[in-house]
């Protein structure tokens, strides 16, 4: 059955490629001059802006990076706050199943089904360019995903310790809170960290829509073909994500170890 799945997948890929009329020769017909300029600018990122040559870039880069981080952190913070009650309600163990559980799960699926960029566009159209809308645009789908994964983790965590506490007189909810949640904590934290990395990337991309994160700088540099500047910001983005990745790995390693 599994082999059949892989084969089906390969066939589907082929079909999709044909449907989209993907022709490998199209790749070669790309604009070689642009490509060459872009690649050769890589080892020499700009330290001053390319338009006037007067503005020193690093402070601007740091500003954009800081904006990226704060938008992501604020979005995640809000997401965790919203996800907490949703997690409890969506977990069959904690809420006992039933129609509240199903209703919350549907709500979560709905929250997740719209991409954060699309939420941002909705808010931009509905309310205008306020920076709060970026944070909320990240928070809504991320809260949904956190709630879904967290509730699944809680439902699958071992329950023996909770049963033992109940044998000592604790109520079911008490035993779940004080035995299941601590046991699931390493997995919860680990997934939360992964989501934060994703939030950083989403935050950067929101810049393409006018928010002051790294994406904004990327798009304006590229639009004016200032490739050296572009590389400066690309390096900054890469560095940011890489640092977050290393930190998250270090934390996760310690969570698992005794």
């Amino acid at each position: 059955m599994r082999r059949a799945t892989w084969v089906t997948g390969a066939l589907a890929t082929l079909l999709a490629a044909l449907w989209l009329r993907l022709d490998p020769r199209d790749l070669l017909a790309a604009k070689p001059d642009l490509l060459w300029d872009f690649i050769t600018a890589a080892p020499r990122p700009a330290l001053v802006d390319e338009a006037t040559g007067e503005i020193f870039l690093p402070p601007l880069v740091l500003e954009a990076a800081w904006a990226t981080v704060t938008f992501a952190a604020a979005g995640m913070g809000l997401a965790v706050l919203v996800a907490a009650p949703l997690t409890v309600l969506a977990s069959t163990r904690f809420s006992g199943g039933g129609w509240t559980c199903t209703a919350v799960r549907t709500l979560i699926a709905g929250m997740r089904s719209v991409h954060e960029l699309l939420w941002a566009i909705l808010f931009l159209a509905a309310i205008g360019l306020t920076q709060a809308s970026a944070v909320i645009a990240i928070a809504i789908p991320f809260a949904g995903t956190l709630a879904k994964v967290f509730s699944e983790l809680l439902d699958e965590a071992p329950v023996e310790a909770a049963n033992a506490l109940q044998a000592g007189g604790a109520s079911e909810l008490q035993s779940l809170v004080f035995a299941v949640i601590p046991q699931a904590m390493p997995d919860l934290a680990s997934y939360g960290l992964y989501r934060f990395e994703c939030a950083l990337r989403s935050s950067a991309v929101l810049g393409f829509f006018g928010f002051p994160t790294l994406g904004y700088a990327l798009s304006s540099s590229a639009d004016s073909a200032h490739f050296h500047e572009l590389w400066t910001y690309l390096y900054a983005l890469f560095l940011l994500v890489w640092i977050a990745d290393r930190w998250s790995w270090a934390v996760r390693r310690r969570l698992v170890r005794a």
């Binding site: 059955m1 599994r2 799945t5 892989w6 997948g9 890929t13 079909l15 999709a16 490629a17 449907w19 989209l20 993907l22 199209d26 790749l27 790309a30 604009k31 642009l34 872009f38 981080v69 704060t70 938008f71 992501a72 952190a73 604020a74 995640m76 913070g77 699926a109 709905g110 997740r112 089904s113 719209v114 991409h115 960029l117 699309l118 566009i121 909705l122 159209a125 509905a126 309310i127 205008g128 306020t130 920076q131 709060a132 944070v135 989403s202 950067a204 991309v205 393409f208 994406g215 990327l218 798009s219 590229a222 690309l234 983005l237 994500v241 890489w242 990745d245 930190w247 310690r254 969570l255």
Partner: protein, 286 residues
């Protein structure tokens, strides 16, 4: 030892505590110091915008209007994008994972050689692993949207930038996950095959692949779900997926169309999720 002494000596992970404090502090700082006021959302201007917006999305509720407005080709394109990108990413990720998995990319995988491998051989393989891992990291670090943006700038609009953008980013993710599973594989079976004189490729297909296949399939499914979301959105850059139509409606300020299309995108994702759950359940029961 006295209780107080024991308490002072208790094991504490300073890195974890520091990290938790840092994370908490960062979140508070970001919420407080950010250059926005949530009160902006209730300002008179915002409320006027909102009421106008709600008025504008009214016409979405007639069926005929829906049938006219929603381009089916956009939906199929989005799905095709996601499928093609996932397929390419899986292939590329698998290949890269072989070079990135330390248990495979060494002079003597799984079995110590008769004589110790030469410095050159070991350094050579170190470089292979290092470059493979670095490549994967770079691919992963750049968001799909940024890849797409760069590729559209370099290749023009069309299906390729979108497919490549999604494929590159996900190859980075899948490559890393695949490599980790390969490294975690139990060494008994590969060791046996290697002892019988199998080449790297034979050992992989005979002993490693069967074990990791299920895990890999699970990872591919999860990435496929994400790819549909990203494929929708990448259209905003000028590729013929749902996102293009959303962006188009937005620029014409036909917000009713825009909301309807976003709704269609949401339905698509929900359908994709449901199908993924169904498929995974079927596979689990076999």
């Amino acid at each position: 030892m006295t209780l107080d002494a024991l308490y002072r000596e208790r094991p504490r992970d300073w890195f974890l505590r520091g990290s938790a404090l840092f994370a908490f502090g960062l979140v508070l700082l970001s919420l407080a110091v950010g250059d926005y006021a949530l009160s902006d959302m209730w300002s008179p201007r915002a409320m006027r915008n909102l009421s106008r917006f709600l008025g504008e999305i009214q016409p979405t509720w007639t069926l005929a209007w829906w049938v006219e407005t929603v381009p089916l080709v956009a939906v199929t394109n989005t799905v095709a994008l996601a499928v093609a990108a996932t397929g390419l990413a899986t292939g590329a990720g698998a290949v890269l994972s072989l070079a990135a998995a330390r248990t495979m990319a060494t002079p003597e995988p799984w079995l110590p050689a008769g004589k110790p491998p030469s410095m050159i051989a070991r350094r050579g393989w170190d470089i292979v692993v290092g470059s493979a891992r670095f490549t994967l990291t770079v691919l992963r670090a750049i968001p799909e949207y940024v890849w797409a943006f760069l590729l559209v700038a370099l290749l023009g609009t069309g299906a390729w930038p979108a497919v490549l953008a999604l494929a590159l980013h996900n190859a980075g993710i899948l490559g890393k996950l695949f490599a980790e599973t390969v490294e975690d594989v139990d060494s008994a079976a590969p060791r046996a095959l290697r002892g019988l004189g199998g080449t790297r490729l034979q050992v992989f297909s005979g002993a490693v692949l069967p074990t990791v296949m299920n895990r890999w399939l699970l990872y591919v499914f999860v990435r496929w779900e994400t790819c549909i979301r990203e494929a929708t959105v990448v259209g905003l850059l000028g590729v013929v997926s749902l996102g293009w139509f959303i962006g188009d409606a937005r620029s014409r300020t036909h917000y009713d169309e825009m909301v309807a299309l976003i709704g269609v995108g949401a339905l698509l994702i929900l359908a994709g999720d449901a199908m993924s759950i169904w498929l995974r359940a079927k596979l689990r029961n076999r």
